[in-house]
């Protein structure tokens, strides 16, 4: 039941954000400071998702060579910077992670 409430709640949230100005409001009344703040949503949100995903190892920040996801993530960041390709980043990151997991036995 609570799962379904969450599913419907998230669906309604994304819809209302999309419909905000197209259906309901006048974009002229969109304050400038708000527009400026929205420009930082992508870098902030994505970094807040990525950092724990590569740096946390069993709940602790681990930047040693024991943290295979950190090493694979660094390679993927470099590949993303050079190629700008989602596919290349995924293939290189997974390739490095699988290789290291295999090499470490």
């Amino acid at each position: 039941m609570s799962t379904w409430l969450a599913i419907v709640g998230v669906g309604a949230t994304t819809f209302l954000l999309r419909a905000s100005f197209i259906v309901f409001a006048d974009p002229q009344r969109f304050p400038r400071i708000f527009r400026q703040a929205l420009a930082f949503v992508p870098p902030a949100v994505l970094a807040a998702i990525v950092a724990p995903g590569i740096l946390l190892n069993q709940g602790r920040v681990d930047v040693s060579a024991d943290n295979l996801r950190w090493l694979a993530g660094l390679v993927a960041i470099a590949v993303a910077a050079v190629t700008r390709s989602v596919m290349a980043s995924i293939v290189s990151g997974m390739g490095v992670l699988w290789f290291l997991q295999w090499a470490m036995g």
Binding site: A6, L17, A47, P52
Partner: protein
């Protein structure tokens, strides 16, 4: 205004589908991963697909999936989805003036279908000269192509999901996808500061329940980016 720059709805629809086709190379694996992740997090296949149809957003679906798995309270799940989807508000404001002449039903439908890709393409197209009466059909062509590709990829992922062993570490594909999205949006120094602060705060608060670290880190990053940006404007003004 001449006839050559007023294509029929059908021509606009086909042009939109064609324009979106190359980006489907990224849409398909991302949809697969989101489908796999939703089953791995404990959603039933039907719940995973329902979330996909209602939210139609990879990032919102992933975040919601993780929070539902962590048994988060409804308010926290919805708040997290709201924050990661705030960019849609920006898109809505940018497209609204181009759609003001359409009926309410059209505007509801276009709102539902709007995504990062369809927005980017439509804004570019609407910026071109010419008074095209059926340009919303261009949006429909791009969006419907994306919609069906995305939903089918999610269904495929959901069906494959329970058969994927944990030792394959497929959940890491999600992190890698976000890395690929993050790197190109860090352009200015203020973007870098926003990302760095968000990452640091998210790590420092990693022990908080219900993945609140995502919300706290994001807000801190946005705030720092905004402060630096305004200071920059004031100096150059």
């Amino acid at each position: 205004m001449s006839a050559t720059i007023d294509p029929t709805p059908r021509e606009e629809f086909i042009a939109g589908s064609r324009e979106v086709a190359p980006s489907l190379v990224g849409t398909i694996p991302f949809g697969l991963v989101v489908g796999v992740a939703s089953v791995a997090a404990g959603l039933t296949p039907f719940e995973g697909v329902a979330l996909s149809v209602l939210a139609f957003s990879g990032i919102a679906q992933l975040v919601a999936t993780q929070l539902i798995a962590a048994q988060s309270p409804l308010l926290i799940t919805v708040t997290a989805a709201f924050i990661v989807s705030l960019r849609l508000l920006m898109y809505s404001a940018a497209l609204a003036p181009h759609l003001a002449h359409l009926t309410g039903r059209w505007r509801w439908l276009i709102s539902y279908l709007m995504t990062d890709q369809s927005f980017a393409m439509t804004v570019r197209r609407y910026g071109e000269p010419g008074d095209r009466r059926h340009k919303h059909w261009f949006f429909m062509g791009a969006s419907m192509t994306l919609f069906w590709t995305w939903q089918l990829a999610v269904v495929a992922g959901v069906l494959a999901g329970s058969g994927v062993p944990a030792s394959w570490s497929l959940d890491f594909v999600v992190v890698l996808t976000f890395i690929a999205l993050l790197v190109p949006v860090v352009k200015k120094r203020a973007d870098f500061a926003a990302a760095l602060v968000a990452a640091t705060i998210a790590l420092a608060t990693a022990g908080f329940p219900y993945r609140l670290s995502l919300v706290v880190g994001s807000i801190a990053g946005i705030a720092v980016g905004l402060v630096l940006d305004r200071r920059h404007w004031r100096r150059s003004a």
